[in-house]
């Protein structure tokens, strides 16, 4: 029997031992896998940093930011109709190069160009609340504003009857959501030949201006049967005017959004109904979508959030309580 030199055995044993060790250690090693929790920078540029609507939006965004490990940069111009200011904020955001931008455009057309520019820096943009004229937007999170306008019109016509005069208090001319709500409202009203829209005013989401414009409208059109106001701020101003000038209950009013003042007026039957959006969910889902967009995931074209028509009868339903009043401990 011819034998190999004894080195061969040593080599053989060494070989098997190394094999065994690597085998075993690879078994154990493959078990652990750290989750990659990295911070995502998201700039959220909204229309203004005031009012319950935007506060609730911010609340939702902050909750999502905590959950998705996002460093949220909440920005807004002074006023809701400060288009230049918002363009400037966008430009600054592009320079900072965050992982994603969420934009609630004050003007559909004017913000389009600067939004297009984000694509040069590869910053995904999520549009929230109101759309912007840019194809670079990854998705839109928000209300179906046209439908919301129609809902308001439907209820108002129910309240005023088929022969009536109606005034519209809108907020910013050029803002996509304002236009869509108005369009929806007018399109629905058009079905009733007896219903006339006698006036459309734009208050620029200024409560006082809305108050003055409403007072003026009430004076100019003494036979006014109903008023619809299409944003939170305009609703507050218009509602106050209707209440204080003694038109409460006589002039039917449909408000938009759910500032606490409006809810009080609703309970006091000065305002008959309100179309309520879901700003908390808007903010939350916009941030969630921005995180997905930053990761390069494909998103749906639209992520719709609900609107609800709230009146005195249903305002205390448990699910509506949850929608109308943000839970603050």
């Amino acid at each position: 029997m011819k034998r190999l030199p004894r080195n061969a055995y040593w080599m053989g044993l060494l070989f098997t031992s190394v094999l065994l060790i690597t085998l075993l250690s690879s078994c154990g090693g493959s078990g652990g896998g750290g989750d990659d929790k990295q911070v995502t920078d998201v700039d959220m540029i909204v229309k203004m940093d005031r009012g319950d609507y935007w506060k609730t939006t911010k609340l939702g965004a902050e909750v999502a930011a905590k959950e998705y490990n996002v460093r949220l940069n909440f920005l807004a111009p002074e006023n809701e109709n400060d288009v230049e200011g918002q363009i400037r904020l966008m430009e600054e955001a592009i320079k900072r190069r965050p992982d994603a931008i969420i934009l609630a455009a004050t003007d559909y057309e004017a913000l389009g160009q600067v939004t297009d520019r984000t694509s040069y820096s590869d910053i995904p943009v999520v549009s929230m609340d109101s759309e912007v004229a840019s194809t670079k937007v990854k998705t839109f999170v928000g209300t179906n504003n046209y439908e919301a306008g129609q809902k308001a019109a439907e209820r108002l016509v129910e309240l005023t009857g088929p022969d009536s005069e109606i005034g519209i208090m809108n907020f910013v001319k050029g803002a996509r959501n304002a236009n869509q709500r108005e369009e929806g409202f007018l399109d629905y009203i058009a079905r009733f030949p007896g219903v006339q829209v006698v006036d459309i005013q734009y208050c620029g989401s200024d409560e006082n201006l809305a108050y003055n414009l409403t007072a003026d409208m009430l004076e100019r059109f003494p036979d006014l049967d109903g008023i619809v106001s299409l944003s939170a701020e305009s609703s507050i101003g218009a509602g106050r005017a209707v209440d204080e000038l003694g038109y409460g209950g006589k002039v039917k009013m449909i408000a938009f959004d759910n500032p606490p003042e409006m809810l009080e007026l609703l309970q006091e039957e000065k305002v008959q109904a309100m179309v309520v959006q879901n700003p908390f969910n808007n903010g939350y889902m916009a941030v969630a979508a921005a995180v997905q967009a930053a990761r390069g995931e494909k998103l749906q074209d639209r992520i719709p959030t609900d609107t609800k028509l709230i009146d005195l009868n249903n305002m205390l339903w448990p699910e509506n309580q949850k929608l109308l009043f943000p839970f603050v401990k």
Binding site: L4, C27, V63, P260
Partner: protein, 596 residues
């Protein structure tokens, strides 16, 4: 290709029955098995204990929240009872200022109390604290706190969180305690509903400050599954987060695993008796049962390490055992090849050392035995030789003496003298003091005297000639090897020939060999005769007694089988016998012994 061949070679060399491989493999197998077995047992035992500990601490945490909350709720109950008592004793509730102050104090000391109010059974306000005007359209009779208080008369009710819309201030989320109570209005006993609203400050504090890992949390639901408190209450209200409440409602207290959202969560449940709230602790298994994973991680590197160490040790030990044995084996192999001079000394295990010692003893014994055998053989041979040499036929002596007698009668004194002298010389060399080895010169002298005697006997029927190299003369040779052949030449060659015979004896050094040639011109021999001669079948009756066979045997015995006689014979031409023996110089002659 080369790699494959070398691997194959390695595997061929890797004999399973090789001691080293056997020991290594079996010890590795046994220890790996043992280590794996022990560590799995330990792992299971340890992780089980760790798991139980985790559950225990979970339960303790939840129990802590539970007892705090129970304390809080019963504290609230006490306040409610206190307010109820105070209301009951006041004779005219709606206008009593003293009561107002007392209740104001209670409210202001407790930050978590929002408001208290008493309503009639038709939902009309009797008195509230703080005194803030009511809103319109509160629809309080439709509200849960009012309804359930009316339904469960005399029993304290807790509501899930709801919006307080009664008074003209901020809309607030509250939990309401309500109960039907009796009070006096202007002395008349009346029934009403007392409601005290609590905010979430204390509940949040009690439930939020405990830690169930980074992700874990505690939430509270009421008996029908309404969320009372949740750290992410707004998310749940907004429909962005869900709790799997269905299984929770089946438990009053206890623990179960929930995997509804993909992650393993340990749900621990406790019930707060007075309010029938359920405290639900949610802990994430990957955070809370980390010990199991840690132990697993530890074992995953510890196990290979242990196995590696065992591997190295077992290789070393098996080498320590098997290498001496292999060394021993190689030594035995050398002995097997005939090298008995090998001395084995192997250090190592005691047994192997003993074995090598014994082996050495055995070797020595073998050597001794072999020496003994050689000596015995030697002695035997010597005696045989002696016997052979003593076999000198007396016939030669009789014949010679007869010839001498005849010569003496004829008066041929000179020839008598020559014959006797030669005979005496012949015998003297024959005996040569008992030595077996004599010089070539003596051997030739011996033959000469024999030939002298024979020429006289055979009346000059033949002539002879003896010649030798000077160098050859000094060499030594076995004695009495030429004479038998010369005798043979005379008897079988010359005697039967009609012609005058001639015998030539030569001694020559040829290389290392000493060569004798005995040539005659007699009748020659057939190969058969040669054969018979060598085998000893033919013996001359009156010869000197030493036959051709004897010569051959002695040469072979003494010098080895390589040496001996060679016959060249041709009928009618004559015969040449060649004797070849090794040339031994005089120096070694003096030693005289017979070395093997």
């Amino acid at each position: 290709m080369r790699l494959w061949r070398s691997v194959k070679r390695l595997l061929q060399g890797f004999h399973v029955r090789n001691i080293q491989v056997l020991i290594s493999l079996s010890s590795i197998a046994v220890t790996v098995l043992a280590v794996v077995l022990v560590s799995t047992l330990l792992y299971n035992r340890f992780s089980q204990a760790a798991e139980e500990n985790a559950y225990l601490s979970l339960e303790q945490i939840i129990e802590q929240v539970h007892s705090n909350l129970e304390l809080y709720v019963s504290g609230m109950q006490d306040i409610f009872d206190l307010v109820e008592q105070k209301i009951a004793v006041v004779p005219d509730l709606p206008t009593n200022d003293q009561l107002g102050e007392q209740l104001e104090t209670v409210l202001s000391t407790r930050e978590d109390l929002v408001s208290m109010a008493l309503f009639t059974e038709d939902g009309k306000l009797v008195r509230n604290m703080p005194s803030i005007p009511m809103r319109q359209n509160t629809r309080l009779q439709e509200q849960l706190w009012f309804e359930s208080a009316m339904e469960n008369s005399g029993k304290l009710q807790f509501t899930p969180p709801h919006i307080q819309n009664l008074f003209k201030w901020q809309y607030r989320w509250v939990v309401s305690m309500s109960k039907t109570v009796t009070y006096r209005d202007q002395g008349k006993l009346k029934q009403g509903v007392l409601v005290i609203d609590i905010n979430f400050r204390t509940i949040d504090e009690l439930s939020g400050r405990i830690s169930l890992g980074k992700k874990g949390y505690v939430y509270i639901i009421d008996s029908v599954g309404n969320i009372v408190y949740h750290p992410q209450q707004q998310l749940i209200y907004a429909g962005l987060k869900y709790e799997n409440l269905e299984p929770v409602l089946n438990y009053a207290y206890g623990r179960y695993f929930d995997e509804s959202d993909g992650e393993q969560r340990i749900i621990t449940i406790q019930t707060v008796k007075p309010a029938e709230w359920k405290i639900v602790g949610v802990a994430y298994a990957d955070e809370f049962l980390t010990t199991k994973r840690e132990v697993g991680d530890f074992l995953s590197w510890f196990l290979p390490l242990v196995i590696a160490i065992i591997l190295v040790i077992s290789i070393y030990v098996s080498a320590r055992i098997s290498q001496p044995i292999r060394k021993l084996e190689r030594s035995v192999q050398m002995v097997e090849r005939g090298d008995f001079g090998t001395n084995v000394y192997v250090s190592g295990a005691y047994e192997v050392e003993q074995l090598s010692k014994r082996f050495n003893l055995m070797l020595r014994r073998i050597r001794e035995l072999m020496d003994q055998i050689i000596q015995e053989q030697e002695a035997k041979r010597k005696s045989e030789l002696d016997v052979l040499q003593s076999q000198i036929n007396p016939h030669f002596l009789y014949n010679t003496l007869n010839s001498v007698t005849r010569l003496a009668e004829l008066g041929r004194n000179e020839e008598v003298v020559t014959t006797i002298t030669s005979l005496s010389r012949f015998f003297r060399i024959s005996l040569s003091k008992g030595n077996h080895i004599i010089s070539v010169q003596d051997e030739l002298e011996h033959v000469r005297h024999y030939l002298i005697i024979q020429t006289i006997r055979f009346k000059n029927k033949f002539r002879y000639d003896i010649s030798a190299d000077d160098a050859a003369l000094k060499c030594s040779t076995l004695k009495l090897i030429l004479q038998p052949l010369v005798e043979n030449a005379i008897h079988h060659g010359i005697e039967k020939s009609a012609e005058e015979g001639f015998i030539r004896v030569e001694a020559r050094l040829e290389g290392d060999n000493l060569v004798f040639r005995i040539r005659d011109n007699g009748i020659g021999m057939t190969p058969e005769t040669v054969e018979k001669l060598i085998s000893g079948a033919i013996r001359s009756e009156n010869g000197s007694g030493v036959g051709v066979r004897n010569v051959q045997e002695r040469i072979t015995l003494y010098y080895g089988a390589d040496f001996g006689l060679h016959f060249d014979s041709e009928p009618e031409e004559g015969t040449t016998v060649t004797i070849t023996i090794p040339a031994v110089r005089p120096e070694s002659l003096e030693q005289g012994g017979m070395e093997p």
